[in-house]
């Protein structure tokens, strides 16, 4: 997907913020926001992040979190745009419309600043071609300057240096500690293997039974994600008789071909 649209990568390589990217996306897709598939954008973004990883570059947490902002903004816009015009009935609809207008206003404002920044950049460049006369004062004038009044002791001078050299801002921005979020490391791939082994012995099994022995919520989450992965790989199928009824999982893969190694790599990370 991204291969066929290299422009997206270029766009991302120098994007400076969610509004920038949003404008770029809207412009690039030349589409009404309702036609922008969030999934498509997500896939493109994941490809981009992967590419960075392949190149051995650290992928910035900034970019990932900004992407979330973009995705959320897109969803907001999309939700607002999907409202049929003239059929505003309840407060919720109005709130959505207001949110849309606010977003549009912010986008417009951002776009305006982007345009004047371009003009300013060009002006600065053109003006940079003129050099001001800024020469050392001719010696006979320099000699006329009044003798400097100097009343600083070396100690006072050192205190000035201390003050000037002391860092003014903390070197590291404050970070939110994430350590507490990890009870223990749980691998989606490992859980997929557990599920795969069990389902190959007995199928179908209910989701309830598959998580009966889970020692923590994290393992439940990992097994749920593993099932989604297995479903995507066509290793399992789901069956639910009625809403909120037990979910039955059928093993559908050829038992010799299947291996957890084939799972899509985005779940390689530990939860």
């Amino acid at each position: 997907m991204a291969e066929s649209k290299p422009g997206f990568e270029v766009r991302l390589a120098n994007f400076t913020g969610p509004f920038d990217l949003l404008l770029g996306l809207i412009a690039k897709h030349q589409l009404d926001i309702t036609e922008v598939a969030i999934a498509t954008v997500t896939d493109e973004f994941i490809k981009y992040i992967r590419k960075l990883q392949q190149l051995g570059e650290e992928w910035a947490l900034d970019e990932a979190s900004e992407f979330l902002v973009i995705a959320a903004t897109l969803l907001d816009l999309k939700a607002a745009r999907l409202l049929p015009a003239g059929e505003v009935e309840d407060d919720e609809d109005i709130a959505l419309l207001e949110a849309r207008d606010l977003l549009f206003a912010r986008l417009l404002q951002y776009k305006a600043f982007k345009q004047v920044a371009g003009i300013m950049g060009e002006t600065l460049h053109q003006e940079g071609r003129r050099f001001p006369r800024q020469v050392a004062l001719e010696e006979h004038f320099a000699a006329m300057l009044p003798e400097l009044v100097w009343k600083h002791t070396p100690q006072q001078f050192a205190a000035l240096a201390e003050a000037a050299l002391r860092p003014k801002t903390p070197a590291e921005p404050p970070r939110v500690a994430l350590g507490h979020l990890h009870g223990s490391n749980v691998s989606v791939k490992e859980q997929a293997e557990v599920l795969g082994r069990r389902l190959q012995q007995e199928s179908p099994l209910t989701f309830r039974s598959l998580i009966a022995d889970a020692e923590s919520t994290l393992v439940v989450v990992a097994r749920f994600l593993a099932l989604l992965e297995l479903f995507r790989d066509r290793a399992v199928s789901f069956d639910q008789l009625s809403p909120l009824a037990d979910l039955a999982i059928h093993w559908t893969a050829d038992r010799r071909d299947w291996s957890a190694e084939n799972l899509s790599e985005e779940f390689e990370e530990q939860l």
């Binding site: 900004e66 207008d101 776009k111 305006a112 004047v116």
Partner: protein, 227 residues
């Protein structure tokens, strides 16, 4: 009566009144004196400073500055005027430098056409181009000053801390006190920024509103070709 004649007449008046006595016998008179002062100016000098320095009225200095500006830009004088023109030192080809009124003051600059040649000698002072992020941040500060980093961040949708720091280091923006409500540091552009932009005040920046259409203009987003 053309402006240069007017200036000469004024000049004659001061001579008569004795105000020009400081220039008696000095080659080139008051105009040359002003020019001499401009040679040692290392930041834009206001008309008031120059007037005080040369001992003339602000109006007189203004006319002389305009005349110098014309001298440096060069122009051709029509035949009947040649004689008087040549004695006044006008009717010439453009000089390699120009006199400009920027950031509220006057200063001599090399002419932009010679940037390539002059750039070889003046390495210092040549500054790297600003990144897109820095330009956009600078634009927001220029149009919304005084403004806090948080507001700039909100407009740009990204954290601008490091860009703001760099712009301050480059002397393009400066601290202008704190917001009485939030206590946040407010930023504004500097006179160096005006100098770099070649303008007299932030009022001369291009209008933001033509770039900020109403909400009706939103359709543009969907068929804008580049962004």
């Amino acid at each position: 009566m053309n402006p240069s004649q007017e200036t000469h007449q004024q000049w004659a008046e001061w001579d008569d009144a004795g105000h020009g006595s400081a220039f008696d016998g000095l080659p080139g008179g008051a105009k040359a004196a002003l020019e001499a002062v401009l040679m040692v100016v290392d930041e834009p000098a206001t008309e008031e400073e120059l007037a005080a320095g040369v001992g003339l009225t602000v109006e007189a200095v203004r006319s002389l500055l305009a005349e110098l500006q014309r001298d440096y830009n060069g122009y051709t004088v029509k035949a009947p005027e040649v004689e008087s023109a040549s004695s006044a030192g006008i009717g010439s080809s453009p000089r390699g430098f120009e006199l400009r009124n920027i950031a509220g003051g006057w200063r001599i600059y090399s002419r932009a056409e010679f940037a390539e040649i002059v750039g070889k000698y003046v390495l210092e002072g040549q500054t790297a181009r600003l990144t897109q992020a820095a330009l956009e941040t600078l634009a927001v500060i220029a149009y919304r000053q005084p403004v806090s980093r948080a507001r700039v961040s909100a407009i740009r949708g990204v954290n601008v801390d490091s860009v703001v720091r760099t712009l301050a280091q480059r002397g393009l923006i400066e601290d202008s006190g704190t917001d009485p409500e939030s206590g946040a540091i407010l930023y504004r552009t500097t006179s160096y920024f005006l100098e770099r932009m070649g303008i007299g005040s932030v009022g001369e920046l291009p209008q933001l509103s033509p770039h900020l259409p109403g909400l009706d203009g939103i359709a543009e987003f969907y068929d804008a070709e580049t962004m």
